[in-house]
Assembly symmetry: C2
Homo-oligomer: 121 residues x 2
């Protein structure tokens, strides 16, 4: 029940594509992530996923198009929708994610970067 400062939290970790949990709300969690380059194509069978861009520009690839999500914008990826977030020009982008506490961040796809547990920062 104390304020969480996003800039301070981002400054406290450096690993990319490795979300860190800052709090929970009901049965959902708020994660911070630093991302760079392409991720992996995946879908979440049962969970919607919200991406808020805190810094930089995110390119959210869907199979039929790419949506550009800029700082101050957010996008919701509905459950069952294949997506692959990426950044361009080697830019590190800071994301705030809002998702179920049970989610695996690559869906059913297994990747070296797959996490099913997120460290609390």
């Amino acid at each position: 029940m104390t304020p969480i400062n996003l800039k301070e939290k981002y400054a406290s970790f450096s690993a990319e594509w490795h979300p860190q949990q800052i709090t929970t709300v009901n049965d959902m969690q708020v994660l911070l992530a630093k991302v760079r380059g392409p991720f992996v194509w995946h879908a979440h069978e049962r969970e919607d996923e919200l991406f808020q861009v805190i810094k930089g520009t995110l390119y959210m690839q869907f199979r039929d198009r790419t949506e550009v999500v800029r700082e101050g914008e957010l996008i919701v990826v509905p459950k069952g929708t294949e997506h692959c977030p990426m950044t361009k020009n080697n830019q590190e982008v800071h994301l705030l994610l809002f998702e179920k506490s049970t989610i695996a961040h690559t869906g059913k796809v297994r990747d070296a970067r797959t996490r099913t547990h997120y460290p609390k920062i």
Copy 2:
């Protein structure tokens, strides 16, 4: 599945203490609110509530203290916790709220500003 620009959404309404829904994520909703001055003391029996400050400074009053939540910060009010958000110096503050889709924003307290349904913008 298209990006939502927060500044554009804030520009689309002017009512204070009247949250507007911009999207849903699983069984939760994302609301934008413009607030000014004191709200009403209330608690949500079953729902945690997240307040992210997008612009300005929010003073989150609890019965035993007040937390100052600045731009770029967020705070979670756990279920059952009495709280009363306010702003100072007649400042209009822009909030992003994450909460259950079923929530009444004054809990069990009824106030002229009580809303149980949020317009979609």
